[in-house]
């Protein structure tokens, strides 16, 4: 009698825990990204997007029957810190893959760690063209983000259409992203409008608390329009300091910024202080005027619920896509073997909430563009919204 009970219980137990007996443990994804400081405005939502993706995938049974586990670490937008954290994640936590870093200083540094340890690394945000330049390319690096060539060119194309512009100035953070972006912008602008003169270039450092000397210097040069690459917390400070000094008035808000300051994260942080009328971009406009796909609607609904935020984020989609891509690659490869997954990533096309994206086999990046538009005031929202978001993806410059 007793034995039969045990047998029944044993059978029931076996039926209730199908995967437990032979699961090889979770798939660990190391996630170094800035979680504090001015760049955290973008870093935190990217992580949240990744966690949402992992949650959804795990709910459907995980990848190859294994759960995805994300190990976040605060890199403080510091290349040295990112490298240290990446190595710790690999050596101590034995992560299977690396996803993360925000800035174009962190990503190339972590890329070398990935190369040496032969670990697949996806960068959701870093744009410097140097990350995937032939000299630095290796089998394990993949970029989800757009790149500085695309962004700078898009900014130039947009500005070239503006009337009455003869003098243009630039202001960008003093590191690889800023330099590469401005270089791409000025090259394309020269091509399209050789009559325009670049009259001033300012280079505040990333995380600069006080932009006033740079603002006053630039106002002094009397530009007609400005191309700006400041982003996240820096852009917020820049606006708060520039507006009272009459900066935006002096250029009649003819400013274009490629640093995703059109994202909801940024616009809601600035609220009524936002310089309406500037052109900005975002990977995910979140608030679409018209043709929003059902996939995107569902994604934003889930995101809002997951992060308990009213409007969602324009950045989470990048973290989300990174994890989706990784999961798809692992499924395609049939294992977590690094070489197999890296091979599976080449040419991989995935369905994202903002459309199909493909990781080009030659460049290891999606070469995706972003949605640009003029930032306008609407009655429906207490913050600026991209008016008629248009996808810009000019052909990346051939190296």
């Amino acid at each position: 009698m007793f034995r039969r009970h045990c047998l029944a219980l044993g059978c029931a137990a076996m039926m209730l825990a199908p995967g437990a007996a032979w699961a090889a443990g979770p798939i660990k994804i190391g996630f170094p990204i800035p979680l504090s400081g001015p760049t955290a405005t973008y870093g935190v939502p990217i992580l949240k997007g990744a966690e949402l993706a992992a949650d959804e995938i795990n709910a459907k049974g995980g990848v190859l029957g294994r759960q995805l586990v994300i190990l976040p670490r605060d890199s403080k937008a510091n290349a040295d810190e990112a490298v240290r954290l990446a190595r710790e994640l690999i050596i101590k936590d034995n992560v299977d893959f690396l996803v993360g870093t925000l800035t174009s200083a962190e990503a190339p540094a972590v890329s070398t760690v990935a190369k040496e340890n032969k670990i697949v690394f996806l960068a959701p945000s870093a744009k410097t063209i140097g990350l995937t330049a032939p000299a630095n390319l290796h089998p394990y690096i993949f970029r989800v983000a757009s790149n500085t060539n695309i962004e700078g060119a898009a900014g130039a194309i947009i500005m070239a259409k503006w009337q009455g512009i003869k003098r243009v100035a630039t202001i960008a953070p003093d590191y690889a992203y800023g330099h590469d972006d401005i270089a791409a912008f000025t090259a394309k602008l020269k091509q399209l409008r050789p009559d325009i003169e670049i009259v001033d270039q300012e280079w505040p450092k990333l995380g600069e608390p006080d932009f006033t000397p740079f603002i006053t210097a630039q106002i002094g040069k009397k530009p007609d329009a400005v191309y700006c690459a400041l982003f996240a917390g820096d852009f917020i400070s820049f606006v708060k300091q520039g507006t009272p000094l009459g900066y935006f008035k002096a250029i009649h808000n003819r400013l274009a910024d490629g640093g995703e300051v059109g994202a909801v994260d940024e616009t809601s942080a600035l609220g009524a202080d936002y310089p309406y009328g500037i052109w900005a971009d975002a990977y995910d406009p979140v608030i679409w005027s018209g043709d929003e796909t059902p996939a995107h609607k569902a994604f934003i609904q889930h995101l809002r619920a997951f992060t308990k935020s009213k409007y969602g984020s324009g950045w989470s989609v990048m973290g989300y896509i990174s994890i989706e891509a990784l999961a798809d690659a692992v499924k395609k490869a049939g294992s977590t073997n690094e070489q197999k997954v890296a091979n599976a990533m080449l040419g991989l096309t995935i369905d994202t909430p903002i459309g199909k994206r493909t990781f080009h086999a030659k460049t290891h990046e999606t070469e995706m563009g972003e949605y640009w538009g003029m930032m306008t005031k609407t009655a429906a929202y207490p913050f600026a919204v991209i008016n008629d978001p248009t996808y810009y993806d000019p052909e990346p410059e051939k190296e």
């Binding site: 504090s36 280079w203 995380g207 608390p209 708060k240 008035k249």
Partner: protein, 279 residues
């Protein structure tokens, strides 16, 4: 205007060093905590508006109290010992206060609106000068003059200056040196907290602002001379000018120019422009 802000912050640092010979690393932390306290007060006093002034005073007083506690409980016990211990104590406080701020207020950027009274701006010589910035530019010299007057004209000020020259003598003469030191430290913290509060409409409140500001303050007091009010004032002015010129003329090297200035001053005239010649 940057210069006047630095003066407000650095004046406290200079004061404490002049009287107590302590280089207070935590001065930047007091500045940061002052900013956070002001923000917090603004949150409590919603809708804010003119409450900004109350919030600023509240923050400054709060930090003054904190400074007093630090001085009485911790710093006081290390006076007899090597200066290194005092320096390290203040550095330990930087670490501790930094994390306390992160714990209470999180890691994101916070900001405060300009007070409506000073929200507008005026056109001078073709440039736009916001009223708030003008206010700060006026406040700097006001505090400099005020502080100088108190130190040179009042009996309390004379006591303070005497204590900075010769502590034992002043104690022998019956003055309560302990109270003087506590008072000075609290005054210095008050200034730090006030500057932190006043900077909130201009700059974002973010973790790490304590570390960024303290080095700038060091440079200013070195140029002007540790312990001299007017030195700190002119030191800030020079710092502001060098920075602006650096940005204008050597855009790549503005970072470098202020440190180079610090080196030059320390090599040629270590006690700064207005300090007492002592090596």
């Amino acid at each position: 205007m940057t210069a006047m802000f630095l003066f407000l912050i650095a004046s406290g640092l200079s004061l404490v060093f002049g009287v107590m010979r302590v280089l207070n690393f935590a001065h930047g932390s007091f500045y940061m905590l002052g900013a956070y306290l002001a923000w917090q007060a603004m949150q409590w006093l919603q809708p804010a508006g003119e409450a900004f002034w109350a919030a600023a005073i509240f923050a400054a007083l709060g930090i003054a109290v904190l400074g007093g506690i630090v001085e009485r409980l911790l710093l006081r016990h290390l006076y007899g010992r090597d200066e290194l211990y005092q320096l390290l104590l203040t550095y330990a406080l930087v670490l501790i206060f930094g994390d306390v701020a992160k714990y209470i207020w999180g890691t994101g950027q916070l900001s405060v609106q300009r007070p409506p009274l000073l929200a507008g701006s005026i056109q001078i010589f073709g440039t736009t000068q916001p009223y708030y910035n003008l206010f700060i530019m006026a406040l700097g010299p006001a505090i400099a003059i005020g502080g100088w007057l108190v130190l040179t004209r009042s009996s309390a000020g004379r006591m303070v200056r005497a204590a900075s020259y010769d502590r034992e003598m002043v104690g022998a003469l019956g003055a309560n040196v302990g109270a003087i030191y506590t008072g000075m430290f609290m005054a210095s913290s008050f200034l730090a907290g006030l500057s932190g509060a006043l900077v909130t409409p201009l700059q974002s409140i973010v973790p790490g602002m304590d570390v960024l500001i303290i080095v700038q303050a060091f440079i200013v007091v070195v140029i002007g001379g540790l312990g001299s009010f007017w030195g700190t004032f002119w030191g800030s002015v020079i710092y502001g000018q060098v920075l602006s010129f650096g940005i204008l003329i050597f855009p790549g090297f503005s970072l470098f120019s202020v440190f180079a200035l610090m080196v030059v001053i320390l090599v040629i005239r270590p006690w700064g422009l207005f300090g007492r010649p002592v090596r």
